[in-house]
């Protein structure tokens, strides 16, 4: 039970951190996504109990995350390296 409250507190703090960084005008999308990844990780591990789950379920989560990451990176590389002259 306290674990849930701590997770929630951490999530709120990270959210306020993001807002703080944004209000200082210092946003970098990398930092914002890094903070978001930590938040997503916290929700997945503790609210969704992944920390208690068997490896097979963790594998699904890991693979899904990697698929999205690779997909996005490859598309970025594709579009960024196009030469449209």
């Amino acid at each position: 039970m306290p674990r849930y409250l701590w997770t929630w507190t951490a999530l709120l703090l990270l959210t306020f951190l993001s807002v703080g960084i944004w209000s200082l005008g210092q946003t970098s999308i990398g930092v914002a996504l890094a903070i978001a990844s930590v938040k997503g990780g916290l929700v997945t591990l503790y609210f969704m109990h992944l920390v208690e789950q068997r490896f097979a379920n963790r594998l699904v989560v890991l693979v899904s995350a990697l698929v999205v990451l690779v997909l996005v990176l490859l598309v970025i590389a594709d579009v960024a390296l196009r030469r449209t002259t």
Binding site: M1, Y4, L5, T7, W8, L11, L12, T15, S18, V19, W22, G25, T27, I29, A32, L33, I35, A36, K39, G40, V43, T44, Y46, F47, M48, Q53, N57, V60, V61, V63, S64, A65, V67, V68, L71, V72, V75, I76, D78, V79, A80
Partner: protein, 182 residues
């Protein structure tokens, strides 16, 4: 269930990929449109969803120790938080409509980058909003039948909870991309 959640992730990642492609192609134009979104309203929605995840997790905890009334109460609370989220979105959409920014029709924004940003904005938040609604229906049904969730058998609540948490995780990534970029 985890596999199903993986498929939902893939669904949204199509839109994330579009976002990445247009961000790279249109750069500053694309990003500038984000300033028309109210970051603080978005932040409020983030807090609302995070708290609703907490209440859902607590409801599962209550089911594991047999407190049916608490389960029901927490699930109703989670639903209400979902409703609050959707209400906020409605307010935001109204603001955008008032400025002539509709899905597919943008009266004031002129550059293609800005137009694409808002098209994606409506697509992503719209799809996410539908998932919030579906989640609310699931949680609401679970609330009505809370007595069926016992310390020995509470798998339905667990699965419904997993869906709701995923909806929260998706928003956690949507929010910085749509509200915090400059």
């Amino acid at each position: 269930m985890w596999l199903f959640l993986g498929s939902e992730v893939l669904l949204f990642s199509g839109l994330f990929v579009l976002y990445a492609a247009y961000r790279v192609t249109y750069g500053l134009d694309f990003v500038r449109a984000a300033q028309q979104n109210d970051a603080l309203l978005g932040a409020t929605n983030t807090v609302v969803l995070i708290t609703s995840s907490l209440t859902v997790a607590l409801s599962l905890h209550a089911a594991r120790i047999g407190k049916t009334r608490t389960v029901r109460l927490l699930l109703v609370l989670s639903c209400l938080l979902g409703l609050l989220f959707l209400g906020n979105k409605a307010i935001e959409y109204r603001h955008h409509f008032a400025q002539g920014i509709y899905p597919g029709r943008h009266a004031r924004v002129s550059s293609p980058g800005e137009r694409l940003f808002f098209t994606l904005y409506y697509l992503m938040t719209g799809l996410h909003g539908m998932h919030v609604l579906a989640g609310m229906l699931i949680l609401g049904t679970l609330a009505i039948y809370a007595q069926s969730q016992t310390p020995e058998h509470h798998i339905t609540l667990e699965l419904g909870g997993l869906y709701w948490h995923l909806v929260d995780v998706i928003w956690i990534f949507l929010w910085p991309l749509l509200y915090l970029v400059r």
